[in-house]
Amino acid sequence: MSDSLGTGEQHAPAELLEIPAGARPPLSRTVSNTLRPGAHSEFLLQAKKNTILKSHGRPPWYDEDGHSVGDAFVIGIAGGSASGKTHVARRIVQSLGSIPTVVILSQDSFYRRHSPEDLELAFANRYDFDHPDAIDMPLFASCLADLKAGRQSNIPIYSFTEHQRLDETKYLYGASIIIVEGILALHDPALRKLYDLKASSSQAHNYHTRRISRDTKERGRSVDGILEQYLRFVKPAYDNFVQPTSRFANIIVPGSDNTVAIELIATHVRRKIEDRSRYLRKSLARIGPRDLSPGDIKDQHFPNLTVLPQTRQLQGIFTILRDRTTTREDFIFFTDRLSTFLSEKALEYLPCAKKDVTTPVGATYAGKQLAVDHVCGVSILRSGGPLERGLRRVIQDIRMGSMLIQSEDKTGEPLLLHLMLPCCIRERHRAEKSFVFLLDAQIGTGAAAFMAIRVLLDHGVPQENIIFVTIIVAACGGVRVLQRAFPKVRIICGAIDPVLRESWALWDTLPSPEPADGDVRSPTAKTKAEAEAEGRKVWVVEPGMGHIGDRYYL
C-alpha cells in the first residue's frame, strides 16, 4: 500500500478538473443575454494569455459530418512510490494554462476486489499492493480506452480505509487530455499502447520523509508498519517492476527541480492540441449556415423531420406566441400547451408491442403497450426548459438530464459547459437501449443541437433512439447539416420558419407598441451601440418568437 502521493483523499482520485473562473472568456448563445454590459474587460485581459484554447467549456470534438476527430491525448506517468507522480501531473495541468477538460486517472482506482483472505493480509500490512497482480489491468485498460476514444467510463472507486473496491463507480466523460499516474502505469503493454506520451518520474531525495509523513497523517499508519511494508514489498516491487519500465518512457522527470521537464511536456501537449483544434476550426467553419436565402423546407427531402399538422388551433397558438405584445402569463400558458402537444407527437415514435387486456366488463381487448427499456429527457439549457413541462405531462416521472451549451463570443464556436445525464445514459449498456427526448426551443444554426446529439452518440445511444423535440426549425439553418450528419435522428417541430439572419444582439429593444404592464420587455435591453461595442452577433430566426428562454423565464 504505497501510492497516490499527497492527495489527502481517502478515495482514489479521478477527478474532472475545471479551469478557474478567472480564465473564462465571455460567452453567448444564439440569442441569449447572459452577461451584463461592462463585465467583459477583465475577462478579456485574462483570456489573452490563453491564446488558442481560451475556453473553459469543451469546444467541438467532431467534424461537420459529426464524426469524432482524434482521440484524447493520453500521458502515462510511472515512477517509484512517492516519487511525485501526482505532483508532476498537477504541474502539467497548471502549466498547460486554459484547456477544456483534463482527467487525472490514478492507478489506485483499479486495485482488484479483494477476497476475505487478502483483506486480512491487507489489514495486517502484509498484502503486496505493489505487485502488478494487485491491479485490475484489463479493467484499467478498457476504462482508459473508452475515455481516450471519447466514450463515457464508469471507473471503480477504491477505499484505502476499507482496503476494498466500493460498489459505486465514478462516471467520467469528455476529457481532452488524460493523465494516468501510478507506479505500474508503464508496466502493462495494453496500457502502454494507449499512451501518446510516456513519462517516468525519478525518486526525490526526501522520499522517505514524505512517505512516512503522508502515510501516518492521511492513512493512519504507524511508522513501524510503514517501514516494514517498505522493506517487504515496496522496495522489491520497485526493483522488479517499476524501475525496469522506465526504459519505456519518452521522458524522465526528476522528482524535484523539474520545471524544465514539465515545461517540455506542456509545450508538446499544447502543440498537439492546437493542431487538432486548428483542423476542427477549419472543418467547423463549413458547418455554419451557408445558404441563407429564405428557404421552404417543403422543397427538400427530410425524411426524419416531422412538423405538427398546421391546424387552426396550432396556427392560433403560434400567432399568440410570436406576437411581441403577448403577456408573459399567456406566453407561458401557450408554450406549455404547445409543448404538451409536441410531446404527445414525439411519443408516437416510441416502439409499441402487442398486449391483451381484460376490461371491467369482461371483454378482451387486443391492445398495445410501450416496448422500451429506458426513456429519458435531456434538455439543452436554457431554452429547452420551456419544453420540460409538456414532456412531464405525458410521462409523469421521466428522468430529465440537462446540458448547457453556449457559443463563444469571438468564434461563435459552441462550448459544452455543463452536462448532467440520467443514469440510464451514463452506463453504456443501458444507453444503447435508451430512448432520449432531446429538448431545445429552436434549431437555428443547429450548433447546440449538433453538439448535444454528439454527446448522446458518444454515450452509445443509437441515432434512431434520439427524438429531438423543438418549437421552431429555421428552414435555411443548421437543420440540413444535422440531417446530413445524423440522418436517423428524428426531429419533431411545431413550425418551420423561412429566415435565419445574423444581427447585433439588440433586437429586444424595439419599442413596444403597448407596454402593457411594464414587465413585458426583457430587462437586458441594449442599444445598438452597446451591442456593437460588446461585439456580440447573434443568429435570429424569423419570423420566430423572439428569445424563447427570455420570454418564458425573465
Partner: protein, 227 residues
C-alpha cells in the same frame, strides 16, 4: 416531412357519419387506451392516462372552431400573418362522468366557463330525463364543448343537446367530445343531430345486452372517482 401513421387494430365502420371525427389512430393512442381499458390498472394511472387522451380530444375539438386572419409583429420586428381565435366558448359536462374531463379542458383552455347538466334514466318511462342544469347565462352566444366520456346508446347526449338547444345554442355550435363511442350510439346521435360534430377517441365494436360498450372500459365515472 412525415406525418406519422402507425397501423392500429382500429376498424372504422364503413358508414361513419360525416360529422364524426376520430383522433389519429396511432399505436401510441392505442397504448393509452390499452392502459385505461385494463381492469388491473390503478386509479392513479387511470387518471393520468385518461387525462392525456382527454387533452388530445379537446385539442382536436377546438380545431373545429373558426379563426380569423390576424397579423402580428414578432419581438425581432418581423411580421407574421397568423390567425386569431374567434368566438367565445364554454364547456358543458354531463354529470357525473363528464366532470372528469373538465381538468383536461382547463389545461388547454385556461379558466373556461363550465356548465353542468345532470341527466338520469327515468325508471318509469326508461327515457333519459333532465334532473338539473346550470349553464352560463350567455350560452346562446358561445360555442359549446359538450363533455361525456362514453357514448353508449346516446340517450343522455341526445337529451343534453336538446337542453342546450332549448337554451338557444344552435346545433352546429355544439361539439360533443367523448373517449369511446359505440357504433350504435354514433348512429342514434348523428341521426338526430347531423350538424353537431362528434369528436371521439376510439370507436368500439358494439353494445352488449346491458348497453355496455364492448370492449369498453367499464364505468368511467366509477373508475375515475370511486374504485
Amino acid at each position: 416531412m412525415v406525418v406519422s401513421n402507425s397501423p392500429t387494430s382500429q376498424s372504422t365502420p364503413a358508414s361513419l357519419p360525416p360529422s364524426v371525427f376520430t383522433l389519429p389512430q396511432t399505436a401510441q393512442l392505442e397504448a393509452l387506451f390499452t392502459i385505461i381499458r385494463d381492469k388491473e390498472t390503478s386509479r392513479g394511472d387511470f387518471l393520468f392516462y385518461s387525462d392525456r387522451i382527454i387533452r388530445l380530444l379537446v385539442e382536436e375539438g377546438l380545431n373545429h372552431l373558426p379563426v380569423i386572419p390576424k397579423t402580428v409583429t414578432t419581438p425581432t420586428g418581423a411580421t407574421y400573418e397568423g390567425v386569431g381565435f374567434e368566438g367565445k366558448i364554454c364547456g358543458v359536462s354531463i354529470l357525473r362522468a363528464g366532470e372528469a374531463m373538465e381538468a383536461g379542458l382547463r389545461e388547454v383552455c385556461r379558466s373556461v366557463r363550465i356548465g353542468k347538466i345532470l341527466i338520469q334514466r327515468d325508471e318509469e318511462t326508461a327515457q333519459a330525463k333532465l334532473f338539473y342544469a346550470k349553464l352560463p347565462q350567455d350560452i346562446a352566444q358561445r360555442y359549446v364543448l359538450l363533455l361525456d366520456p362514453m357514448l353508449a346508446t346516446g340517450g343522455s347526449a341526445i337529451k343534453a343537446v336538446e337542453v342546450l338547444k332549448e337554451h338557444g345554442v344552435p346545433e352546429d355550435r355544439i361539439i360533443f367530445i367523448n373517449l369511446i363511442a359505440s357504433p350504435e350510439g354514433l348512429k342514434n346521435f348523428c341521426g338526430k343531430y347531423p350538424l353537431t360534430r362528434v369528436i371521439t377517441g376510439w370507436i368500439d365494436q358494439c353494445l352488449n345486452e346491458k348497453a355496455y360498450i364492448i370492449p369498453g372500459l367499464g364505468d368511467f365515472g366509477e373508475r375515475r372517482y370511486c374504485v
